[in-house]
């Protein structure tokens, strides 16, 4: 893949607890649950985002407040996860970001971005994978720590999207094969527990 620096095939897979600490290193790839059908979409451009979110919202059909709130959370997190894969993941040989946020772009030759989800009526599992493998565990931990550390309203605080994922999803995980693939996922319960 263009601009991709191949490194060793070591896999970084980890979960973060509510304090932002690593609590276990699961194997990878991290499979979605077997309950419920797994839906999968290949993302070819940023324009696909709204179509995918509309499909996902139809999967979460239900007229009550709980379903409405689940749709709101799912739409936000898919937005953040796809923005991450489309704009933050692609890096040049020097580690610089290739695409500016919001820029029009198509997938590059060899690039793959995939959203998978499964919904069993009580819990929505979400996972987005990209074929860059550019995220590091240190970056994830730093962004979450940065956003946890201060309640202040910093305008351009880095890592806010990752922080939203970690705060809103149960069992948030990141799995990275450096230079090959990053998968970020977790689950949204229909009835969130308060914490």
């Amino acid at each position: 893949m263009a601009h991709m620096k191949k490194t060793t095939r070591h896999i970084h897979g980890f979960r973060l607890n509510r304090n932002g600490a690593i609590v276990c290193i699961p194997g990878s790839p991290l499979a979605l649950p077997q309950r419920g059908r797994v839906h999968e979409w290949r993302v070819m451009s940023p324009e696909d985002k709204e179509t995918i979110i509309a499909h996902l919202e139809r999967l979460l059909d239900g007229a009550d407040d709980a379903h409405d709130f689940l749709r709101q959370r799912a739409a936000l997190l898919v937005d953040e996860m796809l923005e991450n894969a489309l704009y933050a993941a692609p890096r040049d040989a020097g580690g610089g970001q290739i695409f500016r946020k919001g820029a029009k772009r198509g997938v590059l030759p060899g690039e793959q971005i995939t959203l998978r989800c499964a919904y069993d009526g009580e819990r929505l599992s979400l996972e987005v994978s990209d074929s860059w493998g550019s995220l590091t565990p240190e970056t994830v931990r730093r962004f979450i720590a940065l956003n946890l550390a201060s309640e202040g309203a910093d305008t351009d605080r880095a890592g806010r999207g990752l922080f939203f994922m970690w705060r809103l999803m149960d069992d948030f995980y990141v799995s990275v094969k450096p230079g090959e693939e990053t998968s970020i996922g977790g689950a949204l319960p229909l009835y969130p527990h308060s914490d």
């Binding site: 709204e50 979110i53 509309a54 407040d65 409405d68 709130f69 709101q72 959370r73 739409a75 936000l76 937005d79 953040e80 923005e83 946020k101 919001g102 309640e151 202040g152 309203a153 910093d154 305008t155 351009d156 605080r157 806010r160 999207g161 922080f163 939203f164 705060r167 809103l168």
Partner: protein
């Protein structure tokens, strides 16, 4: 809610109400300088009842514009019409430290 971002400003007696439409994300960036320019009073109500998603980029834009309006226009800002997830995001990101939540009548 799939809709391109736009806003309008209703001029009231002693206050401006900014109505946001559509999603607030990176695509909305180009509109925010104009929004700040159009504020003409020192009491501003931001109405999100016709807003869709506000992602992390949208939160950054709102934080920047709220700070600018407060500083440049010496304005007080209140917020109304938030849905459940956007209320949660505003609490998580400190927006409510800069702008109060308008009480429902």
């Amino acid at each position: 809610m799939e809709q391109s971002f736009k806003f309008d400003i209703r001029k009231g007696i002693g206050s401006d109400t900014i109505q946001f439409y559509g999603n607030i994300d990176a695509q909305a960036d180009q509109h925010f300088d104009d929004l700040i320019r159009q504020v003409s009073t020192n009491r501003v109500i931001m109405d999100f009842s016709t807003t869709g998603r506000i992602n992390s980029m949208g939160i950054a834009l709102l934080l920047r514009s709220i700070k600018s309006i407060k500083t440049e226009k010496n304005a007080e800002i209140s917020i109304q019409g938030l849905n459940q997830i956007n209320t949660m995001l505003f609490k998580m990101t400190g927006i409510f430290m800069l702008a109060s939540e308008a009480r429902a009548n």
